[in-house]
Symmetry: C3
Subunit: 151 residues, 3 copies
């Protein structure tokens, strides 16, 4: 076991070029959620992508299921007259140990909510951990794990 | 019309180099506002720059008018003993379709306010859309459109 | 005096490459604080590093003293069941005038707090000014000055 650990591959931080492009990727992804753009949001996950969170009893598995969930969630949000802003910060990113194609990221996502005529409130603060795979010069999320700080 | 659409130029995301410099540009611009530095803030707009927002009945047109507005607003803020922090996040940026010199950006700007001895509050959450032109190795804002989420 | 000013060295903004790496450096540093990882946090300061803030009567001087302070602060935070998120934004960075090795940064750091079963609150909004020195391809903080907006 000590020997296995000794030869375990070590994660490598991404290049500045990749870090930059990841920032832009995530900015678009967060905007697509707040624009209630289900195809863009769901399309940022792989076909078999998984969205797991301590807010749900089970992970949501597959792009189609993720899209169906968003259809309902976005409709409820629009009906309630709520504008949300997903604010991702403090992004760190590494190539996965043993699979340099995959990228692991870790970031904070704060969700702001504003109702008409009212001050914004912070709906939740979360830690977001992703596994990404390269697709067409960009990335898609294979697995996202969101841990809400309040649960 | 179908034909026109078919040949319409498509926006192109900015390079990582430009994206990076835009982040730095905006960090300086937001700081200049919160430092109550009217010349720096107004100087980040073109002479004929426009600041439009759903919080005002009319756009503010021209750098001089923008400076005059800030003179009043910053003085009121200072008199009230309020420290503001304009926090821009989730920046996306593209070269304008048909005019690669111009850059269109879209971002979130949250405005924090702190009064002495009190906890910070979120004054507003906004969507900020800019048209930028290159000036002296940097940029200036030709038109900013800020949409407050609560209005 | 006019002459002295005329020959004073002028700060130079960092390259996009360095700016990028600074963003990643700070994301890791902020995460290390919120992960309650004392060695990582204290290790991001030089041996003689200084942490000064208007929240304390005196600066904390030296990595060992910074580590001892964090040991206590992190234990109190964990005992209170509080999750904190240090969110750094609006980073600007320049090579120090007259010493290009040193980098001066200025940024906003907002501290979010979440208690189990409760909505997040903003503990404080701050202005953070650092002097950094290059170490092993990264940086360490020689001096940090944090000014809380509420004090």
């Amino acid at each position: 076991m000590v020997q296995a650990a000794a030869v375990a591959p070590v994660p490598v931080p991404v290049s500045t070029e990749v870090y930059q492009r990841l920032q832009h990727f995530y900015a678009r992804q967060m905007q697509s959620s707040d624009d209630l753009d289900v195809p863009a949001w769901a399309g940022s996950f792989t076909e078999d992508g998984v969205f797991a969170t301590n807010a749900f009893p089970e992970p949501i598995t597959g792009r189609a299921a993720i899209a169906a969930h968003c259809d309902r969630a976005f409709a409820a949000q629009a009906a309630a007259g709520i504008v949300r802003r997903h604010v991702m910060t403090m992004l760190t990113a590494e190539h996965a140990a043993g699979d340099g194609e995959r990228i692991h990221t870790r970031s904070y996502v704060m969700v702001l909510e504003t109702r008409r005529g009212q001050k914004p409130t912070i709906y939740c603060s979360t830690l977001c951990e992703d596994v990404l795979v390269p697709v067409d010069g960009g990335w898609q999320v294979v697995r996202r794990e969101v841990r809400r700080d309040d649960l």
